[in-house]
């Protein structure tokens, strides 16, 4: 059952060939079988999943169902789920039972998607490997010595290993696309503001966007339809006419101008990754498009700018974790300062503490102009690079990451080296543009993802390009042998 596409699952559910309860139980069984080793889940919710599946079956029987009704889902543990532990991968929230649902969760619950559980992640979404989780690293299903990527590593692993057909993630500097790339699956970060952030535990507010992790571009399109849309409870949620992200699926790519930045293929890019990506670009080009060279001259400034801005926003967003109203509180606080300092030092992991401190420093008197304001200026310059590039191309393609998945433990001591891995994904978050990652081959026996970036609101086009690519390749159909 885990090899079916979403469309096929939908057909079988509606024909009565399978029930949602059966489908859900199938995945719960696989989770029991494989997750002890993989560690992709923080919390598995079997009773909830089955009861939601039963309700979904009723909806289907009553003819009241949508495409995704009855199809189970795993949520990154950053989405608040009412009555269910929501840890954000942190000891700080190890005891946090959310008293409300995130907007995305409300939407998917309404459709009737049984929740299998909450997936592992880098603590507070700060990381590119899922190693900083309080609950230990998740393994890459393709190679258990490797990281699955981060911060949505749990969700990506779950899809790659067939432990759920669909999963949610969030992407602040690449955290949906990079794990998708490392795990050989599909993921998309939509235009900033397309999906509501209400109820998603905030890391960096002007960067965070939720997106689907799936087995195919088509599945992602269906998921994005369900997830996206205006939410009046989020001031940064865009008020636009509802978009059908599947509307361009099947359209010809004739005339597509594919921009390839000269700056992308330089030092630091693994030759096997480069080879896979160049091949993939050529294959897309063969579908009717032409490759055009473009320039993103400020590309190298994106990473430093991001590591000023995201930690700065995070330093304020994480001030609410103080041991007073929820979450971890230190033992026997002596006075107020002791309560704050010990609760936060004991509750947060090292990387989170580092980023909070860097962020606070970048905002502090004397450094605000040199760091924060400067980074905001660079942000505009990076965005303007894309705007200019899109004058001569329709989409920009390249690698998602300079390498395939590295080993667990390999980079944990060298933060800056880990940060530099995000050089392709980060500029997209600075600009707020949509971007897709689809599997495009292997490097060193570990998956490689093709990055497709488009202008604001071009998700449907991106998804179609991914979909067309997936008609002529079968990377996305592959699964590690042990999980088949």
């Amino acid at each position: 059952m885990h090899n079916l596409t979403i469309k096929q699952m939908n057909e079988k559910l509606h024909s009565g060939e399978i029930t949602s309860v059966q489908l859900t139980q199938h995945y719960l069984d696989r989770i029991s079988q494989y997750d002890g080793d993989l560690n992709a889940f923080v919390t598995v919710t079997p009773e909830l999943a089955i009861s939601m599946a039963e309700a979904a079956d009723q909806k289907i029987a009553a003819g009241d169902a949508e495409l995704l009704t009855g199809i189970p889902i795993a949520h990154k543990d950053i989405f608040c789920t009412d009555g269910v532990k929501t840890s954000c991968g942190s000891k700080m929230l190890d005891n946090f039972i959310a008293p409300y649902d995130a907007h995305v969760v409300t939407l998917l619950n309404k459709i009737g998607m049984p929740i299998l559980g909450k997936t592992n992640m880098d603590e507070f979404a700060m990381g590119s490997s899922s190693e900083s989780s309080y609950y230990g690293p998740t393994k890459n299903p393709w190679d258990h010595k490797a990281v699955p990527g981060g911060s949505s590593g749990g969700s990506a692993a779950v899809i790659a290993a067939g432990l759920a057909p669909l999963a949610t993630g969030t992407d602040t500097g690449g955290s949906v696309r990079q794990p998708a790339s490392f795990c050989g699956i599909t993921g998309i970060k939509p235009t900033y503001g397309a999906v509501s952030r209400f109820g998603i535990i905030a890391y960096a507010s002007s960067f965070d966007q939720a997106g689907p992790l799936t087995r195919s571009a088509e599945d992602s399109a269906w998921m994005l339809n369900a997830m996206a849309g205006f939410d009046e409870r989020d001031s940064t949620s865009l008020e636009r006419e509802k978009t059908d992200y599947t509307a361009e699926l099947g359209q010809s790519l004739k005339g597509l101008r594919i921009g390839v930045p000269a700056e992308y293929f330089g030092e630091g890019l693994d030759p096997e990754v480069e080879a896979a990506i160049r091949t993939a670009i050529t294959e897309v080009g063969n579908l009717g498009g032409e490759v055009v060279e473009v320039h993103l001259p400020n590309k190298d400034l994106a990473v430093p700018a991001y590591y000023v801005l995201a930690p700065a926003e995070a330093s304020a967003n994480l001030s609410r974790y103080d041991g007073v109203r929820f979450g971890y509180r230190c033992d026997q606080p002596q006075d107020l300062e002791d309560l704050y300092k010990r609760s936060r030092s004991e509750g947060f992991g090292e990387e989170v503490k580092r980023r909070i401190m860097v962020g606070a420093y970048a905002l502090s008197a004397g450094y605000y102009d040199a760091y924060y304001v400067k980074a905001q200026q660079l942000r505009r310059m990076v965005r303007d690079d894309f705007t200019k590039a899109f004058e001569s191309c329709d989409v920009i393609m390249g690698p998602v990451a300079p390498t395939s998945a590295f080993n667990i433990g390999e980079k944990s001591d060298d933060q800056v080296s880990m940060y530099l891995n995000d050089l392709y994904t980060i500029p997209v978050n600075l600009a707020g543009l949509p971007a897709l990652s689809v599997p495009a081959g292997f490097a060193n026996n570990r998956p490689v993802g093709l990055h497709i970036v488009g202008p604001y609101f071009s998700e449907a086009k991106l998804l179609n390009i991914g979909h067309q690519f997936q008609q002529i390749t079968d990377w996305h159909k592959q699964m590690p042998a042990q999980y088949q």
Binding site: C80, T86, C88, L93, F96, A98, P99, Y100, A102, R197, F198, G199, I200, I201, A202, A204, S205, S206, E232, R233, D234, S235, T236, A312, E313, S315, A316, L318, S319, R320, D322, V324, R325, F326, L336, Y340, A360, L363, S364, A365, Y368, Y372
Partner: protein, 478 residues
């Protein structure tokens, strides 16, 4: 050795909205602890702010009343600091781009002179929760009901040079915000909070270090606190010491200011634009929409009462003490066709106000409405009742016995104005009291009072006193 005093005031006004500035929780005062602190107000994970539209109109209105520049594009910033009554660990406020810019307010001092005090800016921000002591020994209780209540912080230029000027400014602002209906001015409940920044310097020298006086909730104590603080600073400097920049509280029992026991130096608030909120744009149309509903301001109203109704400055000042009283008065005048505004003023400021005070009522819930009072005053104006009877009628109305006309009718209080009837009464009394008439004719003019008394008694108090006097005089002289 002369000293110059420099005072600036920061006034936090709670805006009269029903819901919070960034959430849909209620702002009503006095609710059970934490019953009006929703997840957004409590700074729970994943919660986001959305701006309450009503704060815009109120801010614009203040800006117009202060003749101020308006911040057509204003931005919310985060002010970062840790304190238990601030659940997010930052306060959302406006730093560089406030909604109201430079304006001014003219104050009147005791000697009648006027001074213009500059207002640097007014900006929107969210209020914090409250700390409560004594629930559990050694612990402080936090009630977040107040967290998220909209505040408009009004910052003055450091233009005041004495405690009296500062209080005059504070009182004027207090009157203004209530007149505009943007703040209820309740200092006891914390709706209107005045922080005073006080420093001293020798003439010609740069500004001295200032101390901030907080948590004083009456004008009387604000004045005393500022005065005592000025003395303290002067004494300190004259004896070789230095003023420390700090927050001080006022101890009204000992009449001293005390330093607040905060451990650290000046906070580095690390202001930056709040990424959960977007720039706030107000348009000319928005401003016009407020302009057309601007109420008449107190100074203009006072001037008009003097010129239009021929009232004294004093009466005008009393009647404009609150917008409610001013509107009450004008309604009564209008309903009596402005035939005797002075009479309306007298009734409003004495009889009506006295009854309100006695029973602890406000104009809104007074048993006598403007319509009812106007009804009674009309009967005074048309001589149906005398002033003395009117007091009776008023008391009866206050007790809920009906309208003036209904009471006059049912109690038979209509004044006797018929000349013939009064003449008959006068003749009667004079005929029945020959000795007193003798006495009067013999020079005892005090007998007038006796005769009037008898006539009024005979008429059950209903004879028109003026006519009684006139006819009595005529008969006695005859």
């Amino acid at each position: 050795m002369s000293w110059e005093v420099v005072i600036g005031l920061e006034i936090h006004t709670q805006l009269t909205t029903k819901s919070k500035i960034f959430s849909g929780a209620s702002t009503a005062y006095g609710a059970a602890p934490n019953s009006q602190a929703c997840a957004i107000d409590a700074g729970m994970p994943g919660m986001l702010p959305v701006l309450n539209h009503a704060v815009l109109g109120k801010s614009i209105m203040l800006g117009l009343a202060l003749d101020a520049e308006l911040g057509m594009r204003s931005v919310f910033d985060r002010k970062n600091y840790f304190y238990p009554d601030s659940p997010k660990g930052y306060q959302t406020t406006q730093m560089d781009f406030p909604i109201v810019g430079q304006g001014q307010l003219e104050i009147e001092l005791e000697d009648g002179s006027k001074k213009v005090i500059g207002v640097t800016r007014a900006h929107l921000e969210e209020d914090a929760g409250k700390s409560v002591h004594g629930i559990v020994p050694g612990q402080t209780g936090i009630d977040l009901n107040r967290s998220g209540t909209p505040l408009l912080e009004i910052v003055s230029d450091p233009d005041m040079s004495s405690a009296k000027e500062a209080v005059a400014y504070a009182k004027k602002m207090h009157e203004l915000v209530q007149y505009l209906g943007i703040c209820d001015g309740n200092m006891q409940e914390g709706s209107f909070r005045v922080d005073s920044n006080v420093s001293v310097r020798r003439p010609g020298e740069p500004l001295g270090t200032r101390a901030e006086l907080k948590n004083i909730n009456s004008f009387k104590f604000i004045e005393k606190a500022i005065e005592i603080e000025i003395e303290r600073q002067i004494e300190l400097i004259e004896s070789g010491g230095k003023v420390v920049q700090e927050t001080r509280l006022y101890d009204s029992e000992k009449d001293v200011t005390r330093s607040m026991r905060t451990k650290e130096e000046a906070n580095d608030y690390r202001y930056f634009p709040c990424p959960d909120l977007l720039p706030v744009i107000i348009t000319e149309a928005d401003v016009e929409a407020v302009r057309v509903v601007m109420p008449e301001l107190p100074d203009a109203k006072r001037a008009r009462f003097v010129s239009e109704f021929n009232l004294s400055d004093y009466d005008a000042a009393v009647l404009t003490g609150s917008r409610a009283m001013a509107e009450f008065f004008e309604t009564v005048v209008a309903l009596t066709d402005a035939k005797d505004p002075k009479l309306c003023a007298n009734w409003a400021t004495s009889g009506f106000s006295a009854a309100l005070n006695r029973d602890g009522l406000s104009i809104e819930n007074a048993p006598v409405s403007a319509e009812m009072l106007a009804g009674m005053i009309s009967r005074l104006i048309d001589n149906s009742i005398s002033g003395k009877i009117a007091k009776q009628v008023f008391d009866a109305m206050w007790q809920g016995e009906g309208s003036a006309d209904e009471i006059i009718e049912s109690k038979g209080l209509k004044q006797i104005t018929d000349t013939g009837a009064i003449e008959a009464l006068v003749d009667d009394v004079l005929a029945n009291n020959p000795n007193q008439v003798e006495a009067y004719k013999g020079g005892q003019e005090k007998m007038m009072g006796y005769f009037v008394g008898q006539i009024m008694k005979a008429s059950g108090g209903q004879a028109n006193p003026g006519q009684v006097n006139k006819l009595l005089m005529a008969k006695l002289k005859a």
